[in-house]
Amino acid sequence: MARNPYLPYPARIEEVAVENAARDIKTFRLAFADPESAAEFRYMPGQFAELSLPGLGEAPFGIASSPTEAGYLLFSVKRVGLFTGELHSLEAPAPIGIRGPMGKPFPWDRMAGKDLVIVGGGFAFTTLRAAIQYILDPANRARFGSLLVIYGARTPGELMYRKDLAEWQARDDLQVHLTVDEPDADWKQHKGVVTTVLEGLKPSSQNALAVVCGPPVMIRFALLSLGKLRFADDAIILSLEMRMKCGIGKCGRCNIGHKYVCRDGPVFTREELKALPVEY
């Protein structure tokens, strides 16, 4: 019999790391309570899951780890409401439920063989981290062309995944450009918004795909820049956020037009979004 899609897999928190200077983003490393659950939970970067805390309910978060990082899942969560507030107060080895994976991942088939431009802003870097880790895995790296990552935040302290960023910058099989709006005294990298960096670097749109995640303002300007760089609408991949409950296209609140973000998204190409009402 098919598994009840409303039932979370049992898991526990293995490690909690504070991600930013404001201390309101934490990354939770979760491990499934049993090997059967771990085996059933097969996902690809770009997908999300509902985390479940009995008494508080559920909330959807993008999966920040790549399936190539075996044995655990990462979720980076900003403290904004009741659920995330309580989640932030938890420590290892607190139990937690995971329901998913949900939604469609980044279009990995289409991305194979392409040069990739990844543009991220602020807190919305979670599934982009998953994508980068996936691409950089030794078993996968050769399947993709060049990899350019542009990641911006308000201040240096708000850049997430500092350790990963340093590791990536030390490698020669990808380019990582970091930029902040308000640099501090020690900052030696870009200053300004990601679009300035993007337009300065002028990545070619030939045989290339761009993946963009960030706050709405950043997305709006990144789309303009990518347009200038002649990225076609179907070569720009975006990931949306929406209030969700069921995560399986039944409860009816996350639709944009006839598409459900939880089931048909959260990953859409710009071309797909253009066919939908601007209601997100």
Binding site: P5, V80, K250, I256, R263
Partner: protein, 336 residues
């Protein structure tokens, strides 16, 4: 195909017989004298004279509160799903048809909804054809009809002192076979008269133009119509909660003592909280967007996703709106 007959006076026996197999719901009068679909047996015989029930029967497949699971002492328990059969007698054809819409949502797609699926699988619907539609009925315009059997397992209709019956599905054939000793063959003249009665009911209904409605709505997405149409909307959930096809739901955790129940409850697109993000952003910030969503969902998105309108023309939303909003007006004006 209507081919059986049972006198009204024997209907109680039929319902009693079904009651031996499972739960039976049949029309009754409540203390205010209004027809309701209530658990059988009741104090008197089943009521056969009524227009429709104020509440649609959707709560029997999608209860307003449903416990999805319980958490206690670190364990999760799924509620036992009942194996009991349920028989719905007297549901109107519009409401039976609405079940097909709900099926598309809860049984379609990659993921079945186990709670809905179980209730639906155990359910048999005996629809009762309408002889007297009301002025707010428009089922014939949205694909149904007063004698439509879609969504029903058995179609029944009253003719003088008899109830005529016909199976519409295999489940319906099995049901009628199980009570065959109570039934006689319907005389062809009675069947003909019944068909005429349905035709007469159809003729009574004022048509609502839903031609190309999905396309018309697509083109009218940015129309000023939504602003004016939604101005008077109070933002209550009456239309949704009474609608036989509205199925949007919320999931919340209900803490009672040491037990947490994860509960599914009805929700409604007219509520501001329905789409409010934790960040404070709301993609549907005003009544305009919310009301447009309601119309789009029923007449455009459902058509695009399921090739079916999520409106069965029962008229409940029109009849019960506290400010008398009428979606027929919008259907008429959109793209006109």
């Amino acid at each position: 195909m209507i081919d059986k007959r049972i006198p009204h006076t024997d209907l109680d026996r039929l319902l009693d017989r079904l009651g031996k197999r499972g739960a039976v719901y049949a029309p009754a009068k409540d203390e205010a004298g209004e027809a309701v679909l209530a658990a059988w047996p009741q104090s008197g015989p089943a009521v056969l004279e009524y227009r429709n029930f104020r509440l649609s029967p959707k709560a029997l497949v999608l209860p307003q509160n449903q416990t999805l699971m319980c958490f206690k002492n670190g364990d999760v328990a799924e509620p036992a799903l009942s194996d009991r059969e349920t028989f719905l007698f007297g549901v109107r054809p519009c409401d039976a048809r609405a079940m097909l819409a709900l099926d598309k949502v809860f049984l379609g797609g990659d993921q079945h909804d186990p709670y809905y699926a179980r209730r639906r699988a155990k359910m048999a619907v005996i629809a009762l054809a309408c002889a007297r539609p009301t002025s707010s009925c428009f089922c014939t315009s949205v694909g149904g009809g007063p004698g439509d059997a879609a969504g029903a397992d058995v179609l029944a209709l009253t003719l003088d002192a008899d109830l005529l019956l016909g199976a519409a599905t295999a489940k319906g054939r099995e049901l009628l076979a199980s009570v065959a000793d109570l039934l006689t063959d319907a005389p062809p003249a009675a069947v003909k008269e019944a068909e005429e009665q349905i035709q007469a009911a159809e003729n009574q209904m004022a048509p609502v133009n839903v031609d190309n409605i999905a396309l018309r709505l697509r083109d009218a997405y940015d129309s000023p119509l939504w602003e004016t149409a939604s101005q008077k909307c109070l933002g209550c959930g009456t239309c949704s909660y009474l609608c036989p096809t509205c199925h949007c739901f919320d999931i919340t955790d209900d803490v009672r003592g040491g037990t947490v129940r994860r509960v599914r409850t009805w929700d409604c697109c007219a509520y501001p909280l329905f789409t409010l993000h934790a960040s404070g952003h709301n993609p549907r910030p005003t009544a305009k967007e919310r009301w447009r969503q309601r119309m789009m969902h029923k007449f455009r998105y459902a058509a695009e996703n399921f090739d079916q309108l999520f409106c069965v023309g029962c008229g409940r939303c029109i009849r019960n709106c506290p400010v008398s909003m009428d979606l027929r007006t919008v259907l008429k004006e959109v793209g006109a």
